[in-house]
Symmetry: C2
Subunit: 290 residues, 2 copies
């Protein structure tokens, strides 16, 4: 049914109520928010029961959050594609640098510094080595860049979610050498479901969506004078690449893990006593705009 | 800046991800929600910091809620005008019946049944009597309709918010007699601020809005075969009638409290020993559509 004049008046009154907001940017955001939330409410002609169900859903989402590694509103933003949209809006027109993707809710600050090639896996899995360079857009190596890394164990859980894992498991801060090179010893990432025991899980279940993310390794790469890069490397052959529950996949971020035997020269360098998988990827960071 | 093709793709992927939702109505709602949330994000070009501020605001709003009388998401819906919009959408084209308004977050179920004219005020205030009839659209009286009433004490707090008040203070379930008449003995309502100690209060403060609601008495009126009416009666001379923080005022719901001396015949009927204020209002309920 079409909007009635009474309904239009309510929207205009609500927008006008924010017209004296001192901060111009806050005014713009809140007035746009009111218009779009009203337009949604109007378009679907939300019933009172549906409105109350929405209130309860949002309340439960807030109450599911705790301090460390459970941020259900980030998860909601992720499964609605909002996180990737914010990422796209904020990283336009940077075709010469590595693409970014979602931050996700599982990062933990202050994880241990790791040596070049140090093993960050304290739980079992397929042994893996990830190596490459960090450079600027001209190909010049960035020495002493920090690569903050996190991934799940092979049970699909991050440390912090899973009390069986030491907190530093499959997490750590690596650093590039003088030639901009990095080396991470770990296990091959596995696909895993996002947490389904909260409101976001109920939403996915009610809408017939699966909760799986394709296997990936998280990176947050920082170097002075360069813009921080938040991204993933996805296993190139994962079955969920085309249906990532959080829409995070970009083709340029797919990487192949290639089998290496125990007698490969890299095995000696990085201390592998058994066969392992080796992936390589070079990251390109954009300069901070001057 | 204009939406890029990459951004449009994200929106379309997110909408499409819900296309196999089994329930058609849920599919309609969630797909519309995704489009409108993305349109908002796009229109204001939300930065990553602003997105995170939004996540934190929503989280704090959920965590401010508790079971009984603090529902911060209803309060947020109220101050954004969404609650009144839902009310308007769900009560269209009923010009022959009493208008509805916001339910608000302060209702408590299971309050005491009250006799005709019983005093529900256990805290001080200006003594008041509210009387009238409940009828159908043809003017036929509705006998034994239930009027569930709630209002703040003169300190601006509802019982449940204020641990000093007995829970039944200024609350109760009145019933109409055979002629459809009701009578409520209470105190004259006062204007009060909605709770400002949570995220909604921070929003109002940051946007330069005041938190006041004009003085009112809440009604939820139920009669078998009729649609439940949720409404208020507003003091007709309140200074906040034109700037209600939750946009709830409708002209037809204004009511005048008229002074009556202690020797007025109503004083004897209803047991007033001092001067009091008297308001009258007749409610008209719509039939449940058959």
């Amino acid at each position: 049914m079409k909007q009635t004049p009474a309904e239009e008046t309510i929207t205009e009154k609500a927008v006008a109520s924010f017209s004296t907001t001192p901060d111009a940017r806050l005014r713009e955001i809140v007035q746009s928010l009111v218009r779009h939330v009203h337009a949604f409410t109007q378009e679907v002609e939300l019933s009172e029961e549906e409105w109350l169900a929405g209130v309860r859903f949002l309340t439960a989402t807030g109450q599911m959050c705790d301090g460390l590694v459970r941020q259900e509103f980030i998860l909601l933003s992720d499964v609605l594609g909002v996180s990737m949209l914010v990422d796209a809006i904020n990283h336009r027109a940077q075709h010469t640098v590595t693409e970014s993707t979602v931050f996700g809710p599982f990062y933990i600050e202050g994880m241990p510094d790791r040596e070049f090639g140090e093993n960050m896996a304290f739980t079992p899995g397929v042994p893996a080595l990830v190596t490459g360079k960090v450079t600027d857009a001209d190909g010049s190596p960035l020495a002493n860049a920090t690569l903050d890394i996190w991934q799940t164990a092979t049970n699909g859980m991050y440390s912090g979610q899973d009390t069986e894992q030491p907190i530093g498991n499959l997490r750590g801060r690596y650093h590039t050498d003088e030639q901009g090179r990095y080396a991470i010893r770990t296990v091959v990432p596995v696909s895993y479901p996002i947490p389904t025991d909260g409101p976001v899980g109920q939403l996915l279940s009610a809408t017939g969506r699966h909760p799986w993310r394709p296997a990936h390794l998280h990176f947050m790469i920082e170097a002075p004078g360069y813009r921080t890069l938040v991204t993933h490397l996805f296993n190139h052959d994962d079955p969920y690449l085309d249906s990532d529950a959080v829409f995070g996949v970009k083709d340029s971020l797919r990487v192949a893990y290639k089998p290496c035997e125990y007698n490969n020269p890299l095995a000696k360098t990085f201390g592998f006593k058994v066969a392992f998988q080796h992936a390589t990827y070079d990251f390109i960071l954009p300069r901070v705009p001057s």
